[in-house]
Amino acid sequence: MTTMFFDSVHDVQRAFRKLVDAMSRPGLVVDLGEQANKLEPVGPCLSSTLLAAIMLMDTEVAFHVCSRHCAETIGLLKELTNAKTAAAGEADFVFVLRDSADGGLEEAIRRAKSGDLIDPHLSATIIVEVEEVAEDGELRLTGPGIDGERFVRIGAEGDWLAAREEKNREFPMGVDMIFVDARHRAVCLPRTTQIAAREGRKWVMSR
Protein backbone atom coordinates (compact mmCIF):
# COMPACT_ATOMS: atom_id res chain seq x y z
CA MET A 1 0.00 0.00 0.00
CA THR A 2 2.63 2.51 0.92
CA THR A 3 5.42 2.69 -1.58
CA MET A 4 8.96 3.18 -0.40
CA PHE A 5 8.60 6.85 -1.31
CA PHE A 6 5.83 7.50 1.17
CA ASP A 7 7.09 9.28 4.24
CA SER A 8 4.75 8.61 7.12
CA VAL A 9 5.88 11.74 8.90
CA HIS A 10 6.29 14.38 6.21
CA ASP A 11 3.81 13.26 3.58
CA VAL A 12 1.13 12.87 6.21
CA GLN A 13 1.95 16.31 7.57
CA ARG A 14 1.74 17.97 4.16
CA ALA A 15 -1.54 16.26 3.39
CA PHE A 16 -2.91 17.25 6.77
CA ARG A 17 -2.10 20.91 6.10
CA LYS A 18 -4.05 20.72 2.88
CA LEU A 19 -7.02 19.30 4.70
CA VAL A 20 -6.76 22.02 7.31
CA ASP A 21 -6.90 24.55 4.48
CA ALA A 22 -9.85 22.75 2.94
CA MET A 23 -11.78 22.50 6.21
CA SER A 24 -11.05 26.15 7.11
CA ARG A 25 -12.07 27.36 3.63
CA PRO A 26 -14.97 25.18 2.57
CA GLY A 27 -15.17 24.84 -1.17
CA LEU A 28 -11.45 25.30 -1.64
CA VAL A 29 -10.27 22.43 -3.79
CA VAL A 30 -6.94 21.02 -2.67
CA ASP A 31 -4.70 18.62 -4.53
CA LEU A 32 -3.51 15.65 -2.51
CA GLY A 33 -1.76 14.12 -5.52
CA GLU A 34 1.81 14.60 -4.43
CA GLN A 35 1.21 12.51 -1.35
CA ALA A 36 -1.53 10.20 -2.58
CA ASN A 37 0.51 9.14 -5.59
CA LYS A 38 3.03 7.60 -3.25
CA LEU A 39 0.37 5.17 -2.12
CA GLU A 40 -0.42 2.20 -4.27
CA PRO A 41 -4.16 1.91 -4.71
CA VAL A 42 -5.11 -1.41 -3.21
CA GLY A 43 -8.54 -2.87 -3.13
CA PRO A 44 -11.56 -0.74 -3.89
CA CYS A 45 -10.30 2.47 -2.22
CA LEU A 46 -8.90 5.51 -3.87
CA SER A 47 -5.41 6.32 -2.68
CA SER A 48 -6.67 9.68 -1.38
CA THR A 49 -9.07 7.77 0.82
CA LEU A 50 -6.22 5.68 2.17
CA LEU A 51 -4.24 8.84 2.73
CA ALA A 52 -7.04 10.32 4.82
CA ALA A 53 -7.30 7.09 6.79
CA ILE A 54 -3.57 6.96 7.55
CA MET A 55 -3.64 10.58 8.57
CA LEU A 56 -6.57 10.41 10.93
CA MET A 57 -7.12 6.89 12.20
CA ASP A 58 -5.47 4.68 14.80
CA THR A 59 -6.36 2.49 17.75
CA GLU A 60 -8.23 5.33 19.43
CA VAL A 61 -11.02 5.61 16.85
CA ALA A 62 -13.65 3.49 15.14
CA PHE A 63 -14.75 3.48 11.52
CA HIS A 64 -17.51 2.20 9.29
CA VAL A 65 -17.41 1.42 5.58
CA CYS A 66 -20.19 1.77 3.03
CA SER A 67 -19.22 -0.26 -0.02
CA ARG A 68 -20.12 -3.40 -1.92
CA HIS A 69 -16.71 -4.75 -0.92
CA CYS A 70 -16.84 -3.91 2.73
CA ALA A 71 -14.83 -6.78 4.04
CA GLU A 72 -11.84 -6.10 1.85
CA THR A 73 -11.77 -2.41 2.70
CA ILE A 74 -12.24 -3.07 6.38
CA GLY A 75 -9.34 -5.48 6.43
CA LEU A 76 -7.17 -3.03 4.56
CA LEU A 77 -7.97 -0.11 6.81
CA LYS A 78 -7.46 -2.16 9.95
CA GLU A 79 -4.10 -3.29 8.73
CA LEU A 80 -3.05 0.23 7.87
CA THR A 81 -4.30 1.95 10.98
CA ASN A 82 -5.27 -0.58 13.69
CA ALA A 83 -8.54 1.29 14.09
CA LYS A 84 -11.60 -0.59 15.32
CA THR A 85 -14.82 -1.03 13.38
CA ALA A 86 -18.19 0.19 14.57
CA ALA A 87 -21.79 0.48 13.51
CA ALA A 88 -22.70 3.36 11.19
CA GLY A 89 -24.21 5.32 14.05
CA GLU A 90 -21.21 5.00 16.33
CA ALA A 91 -18.24 5.34 14.03
CA ASP A 92 -15.90 8.35 14.24
CA PHE A 93 -15.08 8.00 10.56
CA VAL A 94 -17.50 6.80 7.91
CA PHE A 95 -16.11 5.88 4.48
CA VAL A 96 -18.50 6.00 1.56
CA LEU A 97 -16.69 4.44 -1.37
CA ARG A 98 -17.39 4.85 -5.07
CA ASP A 99 -18.99 1.43 -5.22
CA SER A 100 -21.41 1.98 -2.36
CA ALA A 101 -25.02 1.16 -3.04
CA ASP A 102 -27.41 3.74 -4.46
CA GLY A 103 -28.50 6.10 -1.77
CA GLY A 104 -25.46 5.00 0.23
CA LEU A 105 -24.27 8.51 0.88
CA GLU A 106 -27.67 9.73 2.08
CA GLU A 107 -27.98 6.69 4.30
CA ALA A 108 -24.51 7.24 5.72
CA ILE A 109 -25.30 10.87 6.50
CA ARG A 110 -28.57 9.97 8.13
CA ARG A 111 -27.07 7.36 10.39
CA ALA A 112 -23.80 9.05 11.28
CA LYS A 113 -23.45 10.33 14.82
CA SER A 114 -23.76 14.09 15.13
CA GLY A 115 -22.67 14.63 18.71
CA ASP A 116 -24.86 16.25 21.33
CA LEU A 117 -25.17 19.72 22.84
CA ILE A 118 -22.63 18.98 25.56
CA ASP A 119 -20.12 17.26 23.24
CA PRO A 120 -20.76 18.32 19.64
CA HIS A 121 -17.23 17.22 18.74
CA LEU A 122 -18.22 13.56 19.30
CA SER A 123 -19.57 13.47 15.78
CA ALA A 124 -18.58 11.61 12.68
CA THR A 125 -16.41 12.74 9.81
CA ILE A 126 -17.69 11.28 6.56
CA ILE A 127 -15.12 10.62 3.86
CA VAL A 128 -16.75 10.29 0.45
CA GLU A 129 -15.29 9.14 -2.84
CA VAL A 130 -16.98 10.96 -5.71
CA GLU A 131 -16.85 11.20 -9.48
CA GLU A 132 -15.43 14.64 -9.50
CA VAL A 133 -14.35 17.47 -7.26
CA ALA A 134 -13.84 20.73 -9.13
CA GLU A 135 -13.87 24.45 -8.76
CA ASP A 136 -16.56 26.71 -10.04
CA GLY A 137 -19.40 24.21 -9.98
CA GLU A 138 -23.11 24.49 -9.41
CA LEU A 139 -23.05 24.46 -5.60
CA ARG A 140 -22.97 27.84 -3.95
CA LEU A 141 -21.32 27.80 -0.56
CA THR A 142 -21.48 30.43 2.17
CA GLY A 143 -20.56 30.50 5.83
CA PRO A 144 -17.48 30.52 8.05
CA GLY A 145 -14.29 30.22 6.06
CA ILE A 146 -15.76 31.71 2.91
CA ASP A 147 -15.30 35.28 1.79
CA GLY A 148 -18.75 35.98 0.49
CA GLU A 149 -19.50 32.92 -1.60
CA ARG A 150 -17.66 30.12 -3.33
CA PHE A 151 -18.76 27.75 -6.05
CA VAL A 152 -17.75 24.15 -6.21
CA ARG A 153 -18.64 20.97 -8.04
CA ILE A 154 -19.06 17.80 -5.98
CA GLY A 155 -20.09 14.92 -8.17
CA ALA A 156 -21.90 12.80 -5.60
CA GLU A 157 -25.03 10.77 -6.24
CA GLY A 158 -28.43 11.14 -4.72
CA ASP A 159 -30.23 13.65 -2.58
CA TRP A 160 -27.39 13.92 -0.10
CA LEU A 161 -27.70 17.69 0.20
CA ALA A 162 -31.13 17.39 1.75
CA ALA A 163 -29.91 14.67 4.07
CA ARG A 164 -26.99 16.87 5.09
CA GLU A 165 -29.20 19.87 5.64
CA GLU A 166 -31.45 17.83 7.88
CA LYS A 167 -28.52 16.40 9.81
CA ASN A 168 -26.88 19.74 10.40
CA ARG A 169 -30.07 21.59 11.19
CA GLU A 170 -29.24 22.07 14.87
CA PHE A 171 -25.81 23.60 15.10
CA PRO A 172 -23.51 22.84 16.93
CA MET A 173 -24.52 19.24 16.30
CA GLY A 174 -23.83 17.87 12.86
CA VAL A 175 -21.42 15.94 10.67
CA ASP A 176 -18.38 17.09 8.74
CA MET A 177 -17.50 15.81 5.31
CA ILE A 178 -14.43 15.30 3.17
CA PHE A 179 -14.86 14.56 -0.54
CA VAL A 180 -12.11 13.06 -2.68
CA ASP A 181 -11.96 12.04 -6.32
CA ALA A 182 -9.78 9.78 -8.42
CA ARG A 183 -7.56 12.68 -9.41
CA HIS A 184 -6.76 13.30 -5.72
CA ARG A 185 -8.68 16.50 -5.49
CA ALA A 186 -10.37 17.10 -2.16
CA VAL A 187 -12.89 19.50 -0.71
CA CYS A 188 -14.32 19.74 2.80
CA LEU A 189 -17.76 20.68 4.06
CA PRO A 190 -17.79 21.38 7.77
CA ARG A 191 -21.24 21.45 9.33
CA THR A 192 -21.27 25.26 9.29
CA THR A 193 -21.35 25.57 5.52
CA GLN A 194 -24.60 26.60 3.88
CA ILE A 195 -25.26 25.18 0.42
CA ALA A 196 -27.57 26.52 -2.25
CA ALA A 197 -27.88 26.00 -5.96
CA ARG A 198 -25.95 28.43 -8.10
CA GLU A 199 -29.22 29.72 -9.45
CA GLY A 200 -32.74 28.86 -8.48
CA ARG A 201 -34.40 27.73 -5.33
CA LYS A 202 -33.14 24.21 -4.67
CA TRP A 203 -31.40 23.34 -1.41
CA VAL A 204 -31.78 26.78 0.04
CA MET A 205 -31.01 26.38 3.71
CA SER A 206 -32.59 28.20 6.55
CA ARG A 207 -30.34 29.13 9.43
Partner: protein, 429 residues
Amino acid sequence: MGYVAVKGGTAAIEESIRRLKYERLKKGTVLKVRDIEGGMRGLIDQIMSEGSLYDETLAALAIKQAEGSPEEAVFLLRAYRSTLPRKHYARTIRTERMAVERRISASFKDIPGGQILGATYDFTHRLIDFELMEETEETARAWLREFAESVGDAGSGGMNDGMAERGDASGGAAVFGGASGGSAGGGPDAGALDGLPKVSDYLRKEGLLPDCEEDNREPDDVTRRSLTFPSTRSQRLQVLTRGQTGAMTSLAYAVIRGYDVVHPTVGELRVGHLPVYIADPVGSEDSDAAGSQADPSGESDDDYYIGNVKATEAEMLIPVVTEKVRGKKELEFQIGYGLCYGQNETKAIAMGILDYCLEAKKPGVPTHDEEFVLLHIDSVESTGFISHLKMPHYVTFQSKLDSVRRTKRTTGNANDGERTGAAMEVIRS
Protein backbone atom coordinates in the same frame (compact mmCIF):
# COMPACT_ATOMS: atom_id res chain seq x y z
CA MET B 1 22.15 48.89 7.41
CA GLY B 2 18.80 47.66 8.68
CA TYR B 3 17.31 47.62 12.11
CA VAL B 4 17.16 44.22 13.74
CA ALA B 5 15.86 43.11 17.08
CA VAL B 6 18.47 43.06 19.77
CA LYS B 7 19.04 39.40 20.56
CA GLY B 8 18.86 40.07 24.24
CA GLY B 9 16.45 37.29 24.97
CA THR B 10 18.54 34.57 23.37
CA ALA B 11 21.72 35.70 25.08
CA ALA B 12 20.00 35.95 28.44
CA ILE B 13 18.62 32.45 28.20
CA GLU B 14 21.89 30.93 27.16
CA GLU B 15 23.66 32.58 30.04
CA SER B 16 20.93 31.49 32.44
CA ILE B 17 21.37 27.88 31.39
CA ARG B 18 25.12 28.11 31.83
CA ARG B 19 24.60 29.62 35.26
CA LEU B 20 22.34 26.74 36.16
CA LYS B 21 24.94 24.20 35.14
CA TYR B 22 27.48 26.09 37.20
CA GLU B 23 25.24 25.75 40.24
CA ARG B 24 25.07 22.03 39.71
CA LEU B 25 28.82 21.56 39.33
CA LYS B 26 30.40 24.32 41.37
CA LYS B 27 31.22 22.18 44.37
CA GLY B 28 33.29 19.97 42.16
CA THR B 29 31.16 16.93 42.85
CA VAL B 30 29.81 14.87 40.01
CA LEU B 31 27.11 12.51 41.16
CA LYS B 32 27.05 9.10 39.62
CA VAL B 33 23.62 7.95 38.54
CA ARG B 34 24.52 4.63 40.13
CA ASP B 35 24.97 6.33 43.49
CA ILE B 36 21.61 7.99 43.29
CA GLU B 37 20.03 4.73 42.23
CA GLY B 38 21.71 2.95 45.11
CA GLY B 39 21.14 5.45 47.85
CA MET B 40 18.05 7.57 47.12
CA ARG B 41 15.35 4.97 47.00
CA GLY B 42 12.81 7.24 48.67
CA LEU B 43 13.13 10.06 46.18
CA ILE B 44 13.30 7.65 43.23
CA ASP B 45 10.09 5.96 44.33
CA GLN B 46 8.32 9.28 44.67
CA ILE B 47 9.53 10.50 41.29
CA MET B 48 8.53 7.31 39.50
CA SER B 49 5.09 7.43 41.03
CA GLU B 50 4.41 11.09 40.24
CA GLY B 51 6.13 10.80 36.88
CA SER B 52 4.00 7.78 36.08
CA LEU B 53 6.98 5.96 34.59
CA TYR B 54 8.64 2.96 36.22
CA ASP B 55 12.36 3.00 35.59
CA GLU B 56 14.72 3.46 38.49
CA THR B 57 17.71 4.40 36.35
CA LEU B 58 15.80 7.02 34.40
CA ALA B 59 14.40 8.41 37.62
CA ALA B 60 17.89 8.59 39.06
CA LEU B 61 19.15 10.37 35.96
CA ALA B 62 16.27 12.84 36.18
CA ILE B 63 17.09 13.45 39.81
CA LYS B 64 20.70 14.12 38.92
CA GLN B 65 19.73 16.54 36.16
CA ALA B 66 17.23 18.27 38.42
CA GLU B 67 19.68 18.52 41.30
CA GLY B 68 17.22 16.66 43.46
CA SER B 69 14.23 18.89 42.80
CA PRO B 70 11.17 16.60 42.75
CA GLU B 71 9.20 19.17 40.73
CA GLU B 72 11.81 19.24 37.97
CA ALA B 73 12.57 15.52 38.04
CA VAL B 74 8.92 14.55 37.67
CA PHE B 75 8.63 16.99 34.79
CA LEU B 76 11.59 15.37 33.04
CA LEU B 77 10.10 11.90 33.36
CA ARG B 78 6.69 12.97 32.16
CA ALA B 79 8.07 14.80 29.13
CA TYR B 80 10.13 11.74 28.27
CA ARG B 81 7.10 9.53 28.70
CA SER B 82 5.33 11.71 26.11
CA THR B 83 7.76 10.62 23.47
CA LEU B 84 7.54 6.88 24.09
CA PRO B 85 5.43 4.75 21.77
CA ARG B 86 3.05 2.23 23.31
CA LYS B 87 4.11 -1.25 22.39
CA HIS B 88 2.02 -3.44 24.63
CA TYR B 89 -0.53 -3.48 27.37
CA ALA B 90 0.21 -5.70 30.35
CA ARG B 91 -2.08 -8.38 31.61
CA THR B 92 -4.13 -7.36 34.60
CA ILE B 93 -1.94 -7.53 37.66
CA ARG B 94 -3.35 -9.25 40.70
CA THR B 95 -1.90 -7.86 43.87
CA GLU B 96 -2.65 -11.11 45.70
CA ARG B 97 0.42 -12.33 43.84
CA MET B 98 2.67 -9.62 45.19
CA ALA B 99 6.02 -10.79 46.45
CA VAL B 100 5.50 -9.12 49.76
CA GLU B 101 8.31 -7.45 51.66
CA ARG B 102 6.17 -5.59 54.11
CA ARG B 103 2.56 -6.15 55.04
CA ILE B 104 0.57 -4.80 57.94
CA SER B 105 -2.97 -4.25 59.07
CA ALA B 106 -4.03 -1.69 61.61
CA SER B 107 -7.52 -3.15 61.77
CA PHE B 108 -6.61 -6.60 63.00
CA LYS B 109 -3.93 -7.84 65.33
CA ASP B 110 -3.86 -11.28 63.77
CA ILE B 111 -4.12 -11.67 60.04
CA PRO B 112 -3.62 -14.83 57.99
CA GLY B 113 0.04 -14.73 57.04
CA GLY B 114 0.94 -12.46 59.90
CA GLN B 115 2.05 -8.87 60.28
CA ILE B 116 5.38 -8.34 58.53
CA LEU B 117 7.01 -5.10 59.46
CA GLY B 118 9.63 -5.15 56.72
CA ALA B 119 11.74 -2.12 55.91
CA THR B 120 10.12 1.02 57.22
CA TYR B 121 11.04 4.27 58.90
CA ASP B 122 8.04 3.96 61.18
CA PHE B 123 9.99 2.61 64.15
CA THR B 124 13.26 4.41 63.69
CA HIS B 125 14.05 7.24 66.01
CA ARG B 126 14.46 10.37 63.96
CA LEU B 127 17.84 11.22 65.31
CA ILE B 128 20.36 12.35 62.74
CA ASP B 129 23.07 9.71 62.55
CA PHE B 130 26.34 11.57 62.25
CA GLU B 131 28.22 8.34 61.80
CA LEU B 132 26.81 8.21 58.29
CA MET B 133 29.26 10.93 57.37
CA GLU B 134 32.07 8.39 57.84
CA GLU B 135 30.35 5.49 56.11
CA THR B 136 32.43 3.82 53.42
CA GLU B 137 31.78 1.16 50.81
CA GLU B 138 33.93 -1.18 52.85
CA THR B 139 31.94 -0.81 56.04
CA ALA B 140 28.78 -1.19 53.98
CA ARG B 141 29.96 -4.41 52.38
CA ALA B 142 31.01 -5.82 55.72
CA TRP B 143 27.59 -5.08 57.17
CA LEU B 144 25.86 -6.68 54.19
CA ARG B 145 27.91 -9.83 54.60
CA GLU B 146 26.91 -10.07 58.23
CA PHE B 147 23.29 -9.42 57.38
CA ALA B 148 23.24 -12.08 54.67
CA GLU B 149 24.67 -14.65 57.01
CA SER B 150 22.15 -13.77 59.67
CA VAL B 151 19.16 -14.36 57.42
CA GLY B 152 20.60 -17.66 56.26
CA ASP B 153 21.01 -16.48 52.69
CA ALA B 154 24.26 -17.27 50.95
CA GLY B 155 24.50 -13.79 49.50
CA SER B 156 22.37 -14.26 46.42
CA GLY B 157 18.67 -13.85 46.32
CA GLY B 158 17.53 -10.47 45.27
CA MET B 159 14.38 -9.98 43.33
CA ASN B 160 15.77 -8.01 40.50
CA ASP B 161 18.17 -9.26 37.91
CA GLY B 162 21.70 -8.18 38.67
CA MET B 163 21.15 -7.70 42.35
CA ALA B 164 22.83 -11.00 43.15
CA GLU B 165 26.18 -9.57 42.14
CA ARG B 166 25.68 -6.66 44.48
CA GLY B 167 25.18 -9.00 47.33
CA ASP B 168 21.92 -7.41 48.25
CA ALA B 169 19.86 -9.89 50.15
CA SER B 170 16.27 -9.10 50.91
CA GLY B 171 15.45 -11.63 53.52
CA GLY B 172 12.57 -13.75 52.55
CA ALA B 173 12.51 -12.68 48.95
CA ALA B 174 10.10 -14.53 46.76
CA VAL B 175 10.67 -16.17 43.44
CA PHE B 176 8.31 -15.71 40.55
CA GLY B 177 6.76 -18.41 38.53
CA GLY B 178 6.56 -17.86 34.84
CA ALA B 179 8.75 -18.02 31.83
CA SER B 180 11.92 -16.32 32.99
CA GLY B 181 11.92 -15.93 36.72
CA GLY B 182 14.11 -13.59 38.68
CA SER B 183 17.27 -14.75 40.35
CA ALA B 184 16.81 -17.58 42.75
CA GLY B 185 16.20 -16.81 46.37
CA GLY B 186 17.83 -18.82 49.04
CA GLY B 187 16.78 -18.77 52.65
CA PRO B 188 14.08 -20.61 54.49
CA ASP B 189 11.32 -18.13 53.68
CA ALA B 190 11.86 -17.94 49.98
CA GLY B 191 8.66 -18.53 48.08
CA ALA B 192 6.42 -18.15 51.13
CA LEU B 193 5.64 -14.49 50.68
CA ASP B 194 3.84 -14.35 47.42
CA GLY B 195 0.25 -15.40 47.48
CA LEU B 196 -0.56 -14.02 50.93
CA PRO B 197 -4.34 -13.77 51.26
CA LYS B 198 -5.94 -10.36 51.33
CA VAL B 199 -7.43 -9.09 54.54
CA SER B 200 -10.31 -7.73 52.52
CA ASP B 201 -11.04 -11.20 51.14
CA TYR B 202 -11.20 -12.53 54.66
CA LEU B 203 -13.63 -9.75 55.61
CA ARG B 204 -15.76 -10.52 52.60
CA LYS B 205 -15.93 -14.18 53.56
CA GLU B 206 -17.09 -13.15 57.01
CA GLY B 207 -19.75 -10.92 55.47
CA LEU B 208 -18.21 -7.80 56.98
CA LEU B 209 -17.39 -6.31 53.64
CA PRO B 210 -19.92 -6.19 50.81
CA ASP B 211 -19.08 -8.46 47.95
CA CYS B 212 -17.35 -6.85 45.07
CA GLU B 213 -18.02 -7.80 41.50
CA GLU B 214 -15.11 -7.70 39.14
CA ASP B 215 -15.28 -4.82 36.73
CA ASN B 216 -13.39 -5.91 33.63
CA ARG B 217 -14.27 -2.95 31.48
CA GLU B 218 -11.30 -1.47 29.70
CA PRO B 219 -10.01 1.34 31.90
CA ASP B 220 -9.99 4.92 30.67
CA ASP B 221 -6.56 6.39 30.09
CA VAL B 222 -6.36 10.08 30.98
CA THR B 223 -3.08 10.42 29.10
CA ARG B 224 -4.89 9.49 25.90
CA ARG B 225 -8.27 11.09 26.46
CA SER B 226 -8.46 14.00 28.81
CA LEU B 227 -10.39 13.78 32.07
CA THR B 228 -14.08 14.60 31.81
CA PHE B 229 -16.74 15.10 34.45
CA PRO B 230 -18.47 13.18 35.88
CA SER B 231 -15.34 11.07 36.03
CA THR B 232 -15.17 7.30 35.90
CA ARG B 233 -13.50 5.36 38.70
CA SER B 234 -10.61 4.32 36.48
CA GLN B 235 -9.96 7.97 35.59
CA ARG B 236 -9.99 8.91 39.27
CA LEU B 237 -7.63 6.15 40.28
CA GLN B 238 -5.24 7.02 37.49
CA VAL B 239 -5.15 10.71 38.36
CA LEU B 240 -4.69 9.86 42.03
CA THR B 241 -1.83 7.44 41.48
CA ARG B 242 0.01 10.07 39.40
CA GLY B 243 -0.77 12.78 41.90
CA GLN B 244 1.74 14.89 43.76
CA THR B 245 2.46 13.27 47.11
CA GLY B 246 2.35 16.51 49.09
CA ALA B 247 -0.90 17.70 47.60
CA MET B 248 -2.62 14.41 48.27
CA THR B 249 -1.23 14.15 51.77
CA SER B 250 -2.61 17.58 52.63
CA LEU B 251 -6.04 16.86 51.26
CA ALA B 252 -6.28 13.49 53.00
CA TYR B 253 -5.09 15.09 56.21
CA ALA B 254 -7.90 17.62 55.94
CA VAL B 255 -10.35 14.76 55.55
CA ILE B 256 -9.27 12.80 58.58
CA ARG B 257 -8.65 15.80 60.75
CA GLY B 258 -12.18 16.91 60.55
CA TYR B 259 -13.21 18.31 57.22
CA ASP B 260 -15.41 15.33 56.96
CA VAL B 261 -16.49 12.60 59.29
CA VAL B 262 -14.40 9.82 57.83
CA HIS B 263 -12.58 7.46 60.15
CA PRO B 264 -10.47 5.26 57.99
CA THR B 265 -8.34 2.41 59.24
CA VAL B 266 -5.60 0.68 57.33
CA GLY B 267 -7.19 -2.63 56.46
CA GLU B 268 -4.04 -3.78 54.74
CA LEU B 269 -0.89 -2.13 53.52
CA ARG B 270 1.44 -4.11 51.27
CA VAL B 271 4.78 -3.25 49.83
CA GLY B 272 6.54 -5.56 47.45
CA HIS B 273 7.12 -6.54 43.87
CA LEU B 274 4.45 -7.27 41.31
CA PRO B 275 5.25 -9.43 38.29
CA VAL B 276 4.27 -7.99 34.92
CA TYR B 277 3.15 -10.17 32.03
CA ILE B 278 2.21 -9.40 28.47
CA ALA B 279 0.32 -11.49 25.98
CA ASP B 280 2.52 -13.36 23.53
CA PRO B 281 3.28 -10.57 21.03
CA VAL B 282 3.68 -12.95 18.11
CA GLY B 283 0.74 -15.09 19.10
CA SER B 284 -2.85 -15.36 17.98
CA GLU B 285 -4.10 -12.49 15.88
CA ASP B 286 -6.19 -9.91 17.53
CA SER B 287 -8.33 -8.53 14.80
CA ASP B 288 -9.26 -5.53 16.83
CA ALA B 289 -7.29 -2.80 18.53
CA ALA B 290 -3.90 -3.71 19.92
CA GLY B 291 -5.01 -2.74 23.36
CA SER B 292 -7.87 -5.05 24.05
CA GLN B 293 -7.40 -8.39 25.68
CA ALA B 294 -9.00 -11.41 24.13
CA ASP B 295 -9.45 -13.01 27.51
CA PRO B 296 -10.99 -10.87 30.26
CA SER B 297 -9.28 -12.82 33.00
CA GLY B 298 -6.18 -11.68 31.23
CA GLU B 299 -4.02 -14.74 31.47
CA SER B 300 -2.64 -17.44 29.32
CA ASP B 301 0.14 -19.96 29.51
CA ASP B 302 1.82 -18.25 26.56
CA ASP B 303 2.20 -14.98 28.42
CA TYR B 304 5.63 -13.44 28.69
CA TYR B 305 7.06 -12.26 31.98
CA ILE B 306 8.75 -8.94 31.29
CA GLY B 307 9.87 -7.88 34.75
CA ASN B 308 8.47 -6.62 37.98
CA VAL B 309 7.59 -3.33 39.58
CA LYS B 310 7.78 -2.39 43.21
CA ALA B 311 4.48 -1.09 44.46
CA THR B 312 2.60 -0.05 47.57
CA GLU B 313 -1.02 -1.00 47.99
CA ALA B 314 -3.34 0.30 50.67
CA GLU B 315 -6.85 -0.89 51.35
CA MET B 316 -8.51 1.52 53.73
CA LEU B 317 -11.55 0.39 55.66
CA ILE B 318 -14.15 3.05 56.30
CA PRO B 319 -17.18 2.39 58.48
CA VAL B 320 -20.25 3.81 56.82
CA VAL B 321 -23.83 3.95 57.95
CA THR B 322 -26.08 2.74 55.19
CA GLU B 323 -29.80 2.59 55.06
CA LYS B 324 -31.18 -0.83 54.30
CA VAL B 325 -34.72 -2.11 53.94
CA ARG B 326 -37.48 -0.30 55.82
CA GLY B 327 -35.22 2.52 56.98
CA LYS B 328 -33.10 0.19 59.10
CA LYS B 329 -29.62 1.60 59.48
CA GLU B 330 -26.64 -0.67 59.34
CA LEU B 331 -22.96 -0.10 59.83
CA GLU B 332 -20.81 -1.58 57.14
CA PHE B 333 -17.30 -1.18 55.80
CA GLN B 334 -16.42 0.33 52.50
CA ILE B 335 -13.03 0.31 50.91
CA GLY B 336 -10.85 3.15 49.78
CA TYR B 337 -8.13 1.91 47.45
CA GLY B 338 -4.61 3.19 46.96
CA LEU B 339 -1.84 1.89 44.70
CA CYS B 340 1.48 3.53 43.71
CA TYR B 341 4.77 2.66 42.14
CA GLY B 342 7.56 2.29 44.66
CA GLN B 343 7.35 2.34 48.43
CA ASN B 344 5.11 5.39 48.90
CA GLU B 345 3.03 4.51 51.91
CA THR B 346 1.78 7.97 52.86
CA LYS B 347 0.66 8.54 49.31
CA ALA B 348 -1.04 5.16 48.98
CA ILE B 349 -2.96 5.71 52.19
CA ALA B 350 -3.88 9.25 51.16
CA MET B 351 -5.01 7.87 47.82
CA GLY B 352 -7.22 5.33 49.55
CA ILE B 353 -8.85 8.05 51.62
CA LEU B 354 -9.42 10.31 48.62
CA ASP B 355 -10.70 7.40 46.51
CA TYR B 356 -13.37 6.78 49.12
CA CYS B 357 -14.30 10.47 49.34
CA LEU B 358 -14.66 10.80 45.59
CA GLU B 359 -16.86 7.72 45.49
CA ALA B 360 -19.00 8.93 48.37
CA LYS B 361 -19.38 12.40 46.84
CA LYS B 362 -20.84 14.15 49.84
CA PRO B 363 -22.05 17.57 48.66
CA GLY B 364 -20.54 20.68 50.17
CA VAL B 365 -17.28 19.08 51.25
CA PRO B 366 -14.36 20.23 49.08
CA THR B 367 -12.47 16.93 49.37
CA HIS B 368 -15.50 15.11 47.99
CA ASP B 369 -15.63 17.43 44.99
CA GLU B 370 -14.01 15.53 42.15
CA GLU B 371 -13.17 18.64 40.18
CA PHE B 372 -11.56 20.26 43.20
CA VAL B 373 -9.43 17.22 44.01
CA LEU B 374 -8.57 15.77 40.60
CA LEU B 375 -7.81 19.03 38.82
CA HIS B 376 -5.32 20.27 41.41
CA ILE B 377 -3.13 17.34 42.44
CA ASP B 378 -1.01 16.92 39.32
CA SER B 379 2.54 18.10 40.00
CA VAL B 380 3.36 19.11 36.43
CA GLU B 381 0.14 21.06 36.01
CA SER B 382 0.11 22.82 39.36
CA THR B 383 3.79 23.77 39.42
CA GLY B 384 3.62 24.79 35.78
CA PHE B 385 0.74 27.16 36.20
CA ILE B 386 2.15 28.69 39.35
CA SER B 387 5.55 29.18 37.78
CA HIS B 388 3.96 30.72 34.69
CA LEU B 389 3.18 33.77 36.81
CA LYS B 390 6.84 34.63 36.42
CA MET B 391 6.34 35.09 32.69
CA PRO B 392 5.88 38.60 31.38
CA HIS B 393 2.31 39.76 31.67
CA TYR B 394 3.09 43.31 30.52
CA VAL B 395 0.43 43.54 27.86
CA THR B 396 -2.36 42.15 29.99
CA PHE B 397 -1.20 44.46 32.75
CA GLN B 398 -1.05 47.41 30.34
CA SER B 399 -4.60 46.61 29.35
CA LYS B 400 -5.68 46.62 32.98
CA LEU B 401 -3.84 49.89 33.57
CA ASP B 402 -5.88 51.41 30.80
CA SER B 403 -9.08 50.23 32.46
CA VAL B 404 -7.95 51.44 35.87
CA ARG B 405 -7.08 54.85 34.46
CA ARG B 406 -10.41 55.24 32.73
CA THR B 407 -12.40 54.23 35.77
CA LYS B 408 -10.37 56.63 37.90
CA ARG B 409 -11.16 59.44 35.47
CA THR B 410 -14.90 58.83 35.58
CA THR B 411 -15.09 58.36 39.34
CA GLY B 412 -12.97 61.47 39.76
CA ASN B 413 -15.15 62.86 42.54
CA ALA B 414 -14.95 59.81 44.75
CA ASN B 415 -12.46 59.94 47.57
CA ASP B 416 -9.11 58.26 47.26
CA GLY B 417 -9.97 55.28 49.33
CA GLU B 418 -12.96 54.43 47.21
CA ARG B 419 -11.01 54.90 44.03
CA THR B 420 -8.27 52.60 45.16
CA GLY B 421 -10.90 50.06 46.07
CA ALA B 422 -12.48 50.31 42.66
CA ALA B 423 -9.11 50.13 40.99
CA MET B 424 -8.20 46.99 42.94
CA GLU B 425 -11.53 45.45 41.96
CA VAL B 426 -10.76 46.12 38.34
CA ILE B 427 -7.38 44.46 38.63
CA ARG B 428 -8.97 41.47 40.36
CA SER B 429 -11.66 41.01 37.70
